[in-house]
Structures are given as C-alpha cells and as structure tokens.
C-alpha cells in the first residue's frame, strides 16, 4: 500500500505463493484420498480419481528412457505425467523452478514444519549445517537423480516410489507405501525443524532436474547494485541460503523462484531485487 509515494505496509512474505501452495496441497491430498475411496467402492464425484503417479511430473522424467527405447511408459506412469513434465519444464525455462517454490506439496509441507523451527531457533534456524558441508551436500541430489533414472531404466519399474517421501506423504494410509518411504518422510519432516526444505536442498531428484534451468531461464532475479543497501536481508530470507546480496543475477542451481528475496517481499528498497527479463541498470 502506498500513500504519497511512501510505502506504509511492506509484506514480509509473498502471500499469494502461500495461497497457491495451499491450493495444490489440498488438490493433491483430495485426489489421493479420492483414489483410495474409489478403489474401495466410494469416491467423490467431481474429483479426479487419478493415482499419485499419474499426477507427478517426475514420473515423466524417469520414463523418458523407456519411452524412447521401447515406446512404452514405466509401470504405473501414464501420459498425464508426460504432459505435466512438459508444462513444468515450460514454466521452469521461463521463470525457473516455480514448480518447486509454488506448486510441489512436498516443499509446502517442509515449509510448514519449518515455521515451527523458525519460532524455536529464530536466527539460528537454517544455519545449522556447516557451510562447506552444506555446499557439498547440495550436489547429492544429482547423484540421487542419476540413481533413480538408472534403476528405473534397468528395472522398468518405479523403484523410487519405495523411497519417495512425497508418495509416502499422500499414501501413508495405504498398503502401497513402503517403510523406507515413511522413514525418509519422517526424517525429512524432522530435519525441516532445523533446515529449510532439506529434501529439496539435498535429495530431491526432480529439484535437481528443474534446478538446472536456473542457469538459462528467461526471467531472472536481479539485484540493482546502485540502490542496494547491502543489508543482506535478501540472503537471510532465502530459504535455499543463496547469497543474493553478493550477486547481480541469481543463477544458483538451487533457486526455487519463491520471490521472497525481492523488493516485493523482504528487500526494504523498492525495485532493488527484482524478477525480470532484460536486465537492470
């Protein structure tokens, strides 16, 4: 809100992102429940009855090899996963991994748990992992990605589903979920008390795929050096611990395009950390 050109109220968070996150979380949760209800003879009429696998864009990624070599999808994966994969790629090429920051329910749940962690640990929150170790661990998700693609390609089955905390989150009430998945989900939620988005940072194979688009995406997060107060607010606010205040353009492979670092949120100076195309002066 502005009166006489002065900003009286500065939102500390991108509230619309929370709304979008809630929407997709509830949508996926309801569809997952509905899928179970339908399998047991019930169901909600107006809701999709799709399985979680059918609505996961990462399913499209892991089935690419089989699709190209054999012409079929990996077991339990359908055309819808392919469609979602393409849509998520389009968004990522344009705006970076907005799927991670705005849509993915697994990221949303971690953020919710982290709210409690922030209250408990305050400024210490999200700074528990030593910097060097943290930096090295950030590449772990690429190893996970390679492993997932390899085992899926060689087995033709969704082996990752047994370890996937996202699948466990929306299937913990079914017999389909594996103990390993539940354990990883539990560990992820526990770690979320100390670290923001631990699964996204260190292990998510889909985050690894989408993260690469940060290197060439169309819209970039840019800092205007001439107006920057160098207060470091943007870096402190970044859930992925990216040092926004020392770069001109954020090209970090871990950025999730949440916009929390921008002048629309934490940055106190208008039009200083912006999300744009074409660069800044």
């Amino acid at each position: 809100m502005k009166i006489f050109g002065k900003r009286l109220f500065r939102p500390r968070s991108i509230w619309i992102r929370r709304v979008v996150q809630w929407f997709f979380f509830l949508l996926i949760a309801l569809i997952a429940v509905n899928h179970t209800l339908v399998e047991n003879g019930g169901g909600i009429a107006f809701l999709s009855t799709a399985s979680l696998h059918a609505l996961c864009p990462f399913g499209g990624v892991v089935t690419i090899y089989q699709y190209l070599t054999v012409g079929t999808f990996v077991q339990k994966i359908h055309e819808s996963s392919f469609v979602l994969m393409i849509l998520a790629f389009v968004l990522s090429i344009l705006f970076g991994p907005v799927f991670c920051g705005w849509v993915c329910p697994m990221g949303t749940v971690q953020e919710w748990v982290s709210m409690l962690g922030k209250k408990i640990f305050r400024r210490k929150f999200n700074h528990f992992v030593p910097e060097k170790l943290d930096k090295a661990l950030r590449y772990l998700r690429y190893l996970v990605l390679v492993w997932v693609i390899y085992v899926t390609a060689t087995s033709g089955t969704l082996i990752f589903a047994e370890y996937d905390p996202y699948f466990a989150l929306f299937n913990f009430w079914t017999s389909e979920v594996a103990v390993a998945g539940l354990v990883i989900l539990g560990v992820t939620l526990l770690l979320s008390l100390f670290v923001e988005r631990p699964w996204c940072k260190y292990a998510c194979p889909y985050g690894a795929v989408l993260g690469v688009t940060n290197l060439f995406r169309v819209f970039q997060i840019r800092r205007v050096e001439s107006t920057c107060k160098n207060d470091g607010a943007c870096s402190i606010m970044c859930p992925m611990n990216i040092p926004v205040d020392v770069v001109k353009t954020v090209r970090d492979h871990q950025c999730i395009s949440c916009l929390e670092c921008t002048s629309e949120a934490i940055c106190p100076v208008a039009k200083t950390v912006v999300f744009n195309v074409g660069g800044v002066k």
């Binding site: 003879g41 359908h78 819808s80 705006f95 060689t154 089955t157 082996i159 629309e264």
Partner: protein, 256 residues
C-alpha cells in the same frame, strides 16, 4: 520487464490447467490404462478378448466389461463380498490369499475367465483356483483335459486356508506326475520351496542357484536390476509371465 508475484501465480495456474485442458482435448491426458484387454489375433477366437491380458489393476468390473462375466460371479468365485465387487482390484487377491501355499492372484482370474468362457488357456502352467471358483466351473462345458487340470489345481477357500496354512491341491493320477504337487507332505514341500510366484525377484532366483547367464538365456534379454520382480519385468517388456515363469522354474528345479 518486471514480473511480480500475482501475475506469476496467474501464469502458473494458466499454464498447468490450460495445458491439462488442451491435452484433454487432444486426447493426451490419460491418467490410467485403458483397461481394454488385448484380443486374440488369429484362430477360432480371433477378435475376442484374451484373458491372458487381464492385469492386476483391472477391477472385477473391468473383467465384466471385457468378458461379460458378472462381477457377482467373480465375487462368488473368489470369496469377495458381492457389494462393491465391481470395484475390487484383481491384484487384491494376492493379499487376500497370502496365507495360501499356492498363489491365487491375477493368473487365477485369467484361468477362471478362460474356463468360464470356454476360451483357450495354457494349461502347461500351474495356476490355482479356490474351491468356490472350481465349483462354479464344474457346470461349464469343460474339456476332459480342463476338468482334470481344474481338479488338480484347486485350493481351499481363504478362511479354510488360514486355518490350515499348508494347502494340498487335490491331485489326480493322470496329472500328478507332471506339474501338480502330490499328497505327500514331503514331496509337496520339495515342490513348493523355491517356487516362482508373482512376488519373486531375480535376486531370489539367483540365490536359488540359477546363474544370470541362464536367466538371460531363458528370457532372451539382459537381466534387469536383480531386485526387480520377474512378473513386473515381464509385464513391462510385454513378455508372457506364465511362460517365463515355467521356463525359469524348470531351471530352478534343476538346482534342487
């Protein structure tokens, strides 16, 4: 050009739901398999749905649509409550009959449907049916060979199976020497241990002494990750699990 959060939120919704809408119109938005069984391509039954293509994800309702067998009949055959039988997934049988010594699962439904409809089925493979299913089939027009097979491949219903975990199918003199377990407990045990089932992985077969080379020779393809279930692999590669199972079982039996 700057972009703020609200337009970005709108773009996310437009891209996802617009993309889904467009793909729906184009027929690309498929969230499940078509549940239409493949048909026989040649011979007397060409054009008819082939029971061998029934999948674990099929419900009894899907089987009814494909083969015109009422869900209530399937429910009676496999000991399912009639209410909601149409939505019962075939794969649920494996869990239901988990206590049974011999696997009752998707293969059993395939066998039942084939015999019920008088369609061809590979009887060289050991597939078992519960007593209720066998009783329903006795009224159908079975060939003498099918009758003998059925008699030799019948196992107690779930409740009885729970009471007596070791299930001895009723053998016949004619068939006992081939694929059917005998009444002798010792022989039955010998035949049932190291038995390839729907949950058997390649690793288990390796553990039973069959080399990777022989497995690959049987399948005519490189062996996948050893932790893969043989059945899953066959399904994905379009191989007939029952055929591969028998061929591998022969190799496993050689190791005894």
């Amino acid at each position: 050009m700057n972009l703020t959060s609200k337009p970005l939120a709108a773009i996310i919704f437009i891209v996802f739901f617009g993309g889904i809408a467009i793909s729906t119109v184009m027929g690309s938005w498929q969230t499940e398999s078509s549940k239409e069984a493949a048909t026989y391509t040649e011979g007397e039954f060409a054009g008819q749905s082939n029971p061998a293509d029934i999948r674990g994800s099929y419900t009894f309702g899907d089987v009814e649509k494909n083969f015109d067998i009422p869900s209530s009949v399937l429910a009676q055959a496999f000991g399912i409550e009639s209410d909601g039988a149409a939505t019962f997934a075939v794969k649920g049988l494996e869990e239901m009959y988990a206590a049974s010594e011999f696997e009752i699962g998707t293969g059993s439904v395939r066998l039942f449907v084939a015999l019920y409809k008088g369609l061809p089925f590979d009887l060289s493979v050991d597939t078992y049916l519960p007593e209720d299913a066998a009783a329903l089939l006795k009224d159908r027009n079975l060939t003498p060979e099918q009758s003998v097979y059925l008699e030799a491949h019948t196992v107690p219903n779930p409740a009885a199976a729970t009471d007596s975990p070791v299930v001895d199918p009723v053998p016949t003199a004619e068939s006992a020497s081939e694929a059917v377990p005998t009444q002798s407990a010792a022989t039955s045990e010998a035949l049932t241990e190291n038995l390839i089932k729907g949950k058997t992985t390649f690793q288990e077969i390796l553990d039973w002494g069959v080399s990777q080379e022989i497995i690959e020779q049987v399948m005519g393809a490189p062996m996948p990750n050893p932790l893969t279930k043989v059945k899953d692999y066959c399904t994905e590669k379009g191989l007939d699990f029952e055929t591969i199972k028998v061929a591998l079982q022969v190799e496993v039996d050689k190791m005894k």
